[in-house]
Amino acid sequence: MFANLANLVRYRGLIQSLVARDLKARYRGSVLGFVWSFINPLLLLTIYSFVFSVVLPDLHSKETEPYALFMFCGILPWTWFSSSLTEAAGSLISGGNLIKKVLFPAEVLPIVSVLANMVHFILGLPILAVFLIYYRRPPDLDGLFWFPVTMLVQLTFTSALALIVSALAVHFRDIRDILSNLLTLWFFSTPIIYWIKQAPGLGKQVLDFNPMTHVVVSYQEILFFDGPVGHWKWLLSVGALSVLLFLAGYWLFDRLRDSFAEAV
C-alpha cells in the first residue's frame, strides 16, 4: 500500500496534465468559457441572497451582515467539496476505458476530480477579494496565514472521501444517487447559510461532529469575522483526522483496485 502511495507522487505529471485537460475540456464549446468559473458561484450567491435578504430578511443575525459576503465565504469552499465528491463518484466509471484498456493508476482519477475543483475554488477567490474590498472588510494578515492551512485540511479531507466514494461506487452504483441527497443534508448541517452561534445546544453538538463545520467556520473566521482565528484547534484536529481518513480511504481503494478493471 505504501509503495503504491509513493507512486502517487510519481504520477504528479499525469495528474497535472489531467487536471489541465479537465479544465480545458469543461468549457470547450461554451461562449463564456472560463468566465463560468466566476459566474457559477456568483449565480449561486445571488439565489441565496435573494432568499435570505429579500424573502426572509429576519432569519440571519446582525453579526453576519453583510450577509452576502458571509455566505460567499462558506459557499465557495462548499462548492469545491460537493462537486469534487459528485465527480469523483463517477470518475472511475466514466474513466472505465482507461482502467480497462491501459495500465493506468486508477486513484489518479478521483484525485483529479478533487484538484480540478480546487482550481475552480482558487479561480473564485478573486471574486471573493472584490467583495471584501467592496464591503471594506480586509482580513488581517495573521488570519490569512491560516487560509492555506484550511485549504490543505479541506483538500486532504475531500481526497479521502473521494477515494472511498469512487472505489465503492464502482461496485455499488447506488452510491451516486445516495450521494447527491446526502450532500444536500450535509450542506444544511454545515453552518454556511447560518451562523454557527445561532445553533441551539443540541444543534451545536451535532454540528461539531461534522468536519466540514470546522473547515467552513475557519474560512469564515479568517475572511469574515474580525479578530484572531479562534477555531484553529478544531481545524488541526480535523486535519489529523483527515490524514487518518485518507490512509484508510487509500487502503480501501488499494483493496478494491484489482476488481475495477472487471467491474467498471
Partner: protein
C-alpha cells in the same frame, strides 16, 4: 536466452453476471479474492492453466477464435487485470496497443491529447516534445493536429492512438488486432514499424486473426481455444493445426444449417404455381411429386469422407441417394452450384449432357464427381433435382445444401480457371517461403 514474458499455469476466472460484485460490504473490504465464495456456475473461466514463454527479442503470435481468451491473456501480460491463479512475469517497459486512443478526450485538440496520452503511457513531457513531430508525421495528421479529437474520423483517431503508443519506445510491445486501423498504406507503415522493432531486438506479443501476419512475422505462435493452449511453437505448424480445427467447426456448422434448411423445406411439398420454376430464381425450398424422391445428399472429399469444407483444386463429389416408388423411364438428374451472391456458377443435368434415361427402380445413388474444384474461396449453395425431361419435377431441392471452399490464394471471381504464370527471363520473383 532470457524470457521477456513468462506465464506459468495462468488461469483467469470472470464473473458470469454483471451487477453487484459482493454479497456484503464487509466481504468487499476484507476478502482479497473477490471470487472466493462464488459457485462455479457463476464464474466463467477465460483462461485455464496457460503457460508460455516469450524470449527477449522474439515476436510471438497468439491466435484463436473469438472468445478464446486471447485478449484476456494480453490484458494479464499488460498488468491491467490480475490472474486468478498462476504467475505472470514481464521484464521491461510495456506498451499495450489494446485500444488505441483509449484516453483521448474528444473536446480537446489532437496536440493536447498526444501529450496527455503520452504521459499516461509513461513518457515525460520532454520525451513527447522530442517525438511530437514524428508522432504527427506518422499519424499523417499534420493539418488536423490542432482540431478537437471529436472532429476526427475513426481512422484518424486510431492512427493518432497508434502513433503515440508506438512511439513510447517499449521493450515489450503488446498488439491486439490493431492493424486493421487504416488504409493499406498505413497498415504497411505499421508493419514496417514492427519490423523495425524486431530489428532492434524488442519483444512483440501479437494477438490477431490474421494468420498471414502470424506466419510472416512471428517466431513462435500459440493457439488458444476456450481458454486452453491447444498448440504452441513453430507458427506454420500451429496455423495448420488451427486451420484444421476451424474447418471441422465450420463443417459442423454447415451440417446443422443444411439439416435445418432441409427440415424447413419438408412441409413445403405442395407444387408451386409454375412447376418448371425458373432455375435462376434463388429461393430456397423443396417441391415435386416425389414419385422419385431424393432421400439424402452428401458432399464427399478426395479421401471419400463426407465433409462440408473443401479445398480449391482438389476433387469433390456430390452424392445423391434416390428412391423411385415405381420404375420409370423418364428422369433427369441435375445439379446447380451457386455462390453466396446467388450467382449460378455452374449448372448441368443428364438431359443437357445428352444422356438418355432407360430405367430407374427402387433405391439408387447418383454421384456428380468434380475432378478439380476450381472455385474461389467462399460459401456455395447447391441445387439438386430429379425431374422429367419436360421439366415436371419429381423432387426439386432448391439451395438446400451448403458447402465451403477454402483456398490459400485469396483470388476473386466466380471460377478459377486452371492457370499458371510464366515470364520472360527479364522478370524474376523471390522464391516463396
Amino acid at each position: 536466452m532470457t524470457a521477456a514474458i513468462e506465464l506459468e499455469n495462468v488461469s483467469k476466472i470472470y464473473r458470469r453476471y454483471g451487477g453487484r460484485q459482493f454479497a456484503t460490504l464487509k466481504s468487499a473490504l476484507l476478502q482479497r479474492s473477490i471470487l472466493h465464495d462464488l459457485r462455479p456456475s457463476e464464474t466463467f473461466p477465460a483462461l485455464k492453466d496457460v503457460s508460455f514463454k516469450v524470449a527477449k527479442g522474439s515476436t510471438f503470435g497468439v491466435m484463436g477464435r473469438n472468445g478464446s481468451g486471447k485478449s484476456t491473456a494480453l490484458k494479464l501480460v499488460a498488468g491491467i487485470t490480475k490472474p486468478s491463479g498462476g504467475s505472470v512475469r514481464v521484464n521491461g517497459r510495456i506498451s499495450a496497443l489494446i485500444e488505441l486512443g483509449a484516453g483521448f478526450h474528444p473536446e480537446i485538440s489532437g496536440r493536447e491529447n498526444v501529450f496527455i496520452n503520452g504521459i499516461m503511457l509513461g513518457l515525460t513531457k520532454r520525451e513527447i516534445q522530442a517525438r511530437f513531430d514524428e508522432i504527427v508525421e506518422f499519424a499523417e495528421l499534420r493539418d488536423f493536429i490542432d482540431a478537437p479529437v471529436k472532429t476526427y474520423s475513426s481512422g484518424m483517431y486510431m492512427r493518432l492512438g497508434f502513433a503515440v503508443a508506438i512511439n513510447v519506445d517499449p521493450d515489450v510491445l503488446l498488439v491486439d488486432e490493431v492493424l486493421a486501423v487504416g488504409d493499406e498504406g498505413f497498415t504497411h507503415k505499421c508493419l514496417d514499424k514492427f519490423a523495425e522493432f524486431r530489428r532492434r531486438n524488442k519483444t512483440i506479443l501479437l494477438v490477431t486473426h490474421s494468420l498471414g501476419l502470424v506466419e510472416r512475422f512471428c517466431d513462435e505462435a500459440l493457439w488458444l481455444d476456450q481458454g486452453r493452449a491447444m498448440a504452441s511453437g513453430d507458427p506454420v505448424r500451429v496455423i495448420d493445426a488451427y486451420l484444421t480445427k476451424v474447418e471441422e467447426g465450420e463443417g459442423q456448422l454447415l451440417a446443422t444449417t443444411s439439416a435445418k434448411a432441409l427440415e424447413d423445406a419438408l412441409p413445403a411439398s405442395e407444387q408451386p404455381a409454375d412447376p418448371t420454376a425458373d432455375m435462376f430464381q434463388a429461393t430456397e425450398g423443396r417441391w415435386g411429386s416425389r414419385e422419385i424422391e431424393i432421400t439424402e445428399v452428401s458432399f464427399v472429399d478426395h479421401t471419400g469422407q463426407a465433409s462440408f469444407v473443401f479445398h480449391s483444386g482438389l476433387p469433390m463429389a456430390i452424392r445423391v441417394k434416390i428412391r423411385a416408388a415405381q420404375p420409370s423411364d423418364d428422369f433427369v438428374f441435375g445439379v446447380g452450384l451457386f455462390n453466396a451472391d446467388g450467382v449460378c456458377c455452374y449448372g448441368t443435368n443428364t438431359y443437357l449432357e445428352e444422356m438418355t434415361p432407360e430405367r430407374i427402380a427402387g433405391d439408387a445413388e447418383a454421384t456428380f464427381a468434380i475432378d478439380s474444384l476450381d472455385l474461389v474461396e467462399g460459401t456455395y449453395k447447391v441445387d439438386v433435382a430429379v425431374h422429367k425431361r419436360d421439366g415436371y419435377p419429381y423432387d426439386y431441392h432448391r439451395l438446400l445444401y451448403t458447402f465451403r471452399v477454402k483456398s490459400r490464394v485469396h483470388d476473386v471471381g466466380i471460377y478459377r480457371p486452371r492457370h499458371h504464370w510464366s515470364f520472360s527471363p527479364g522478370v524474376t520473383f523471390k522464391s516463396q517461403r
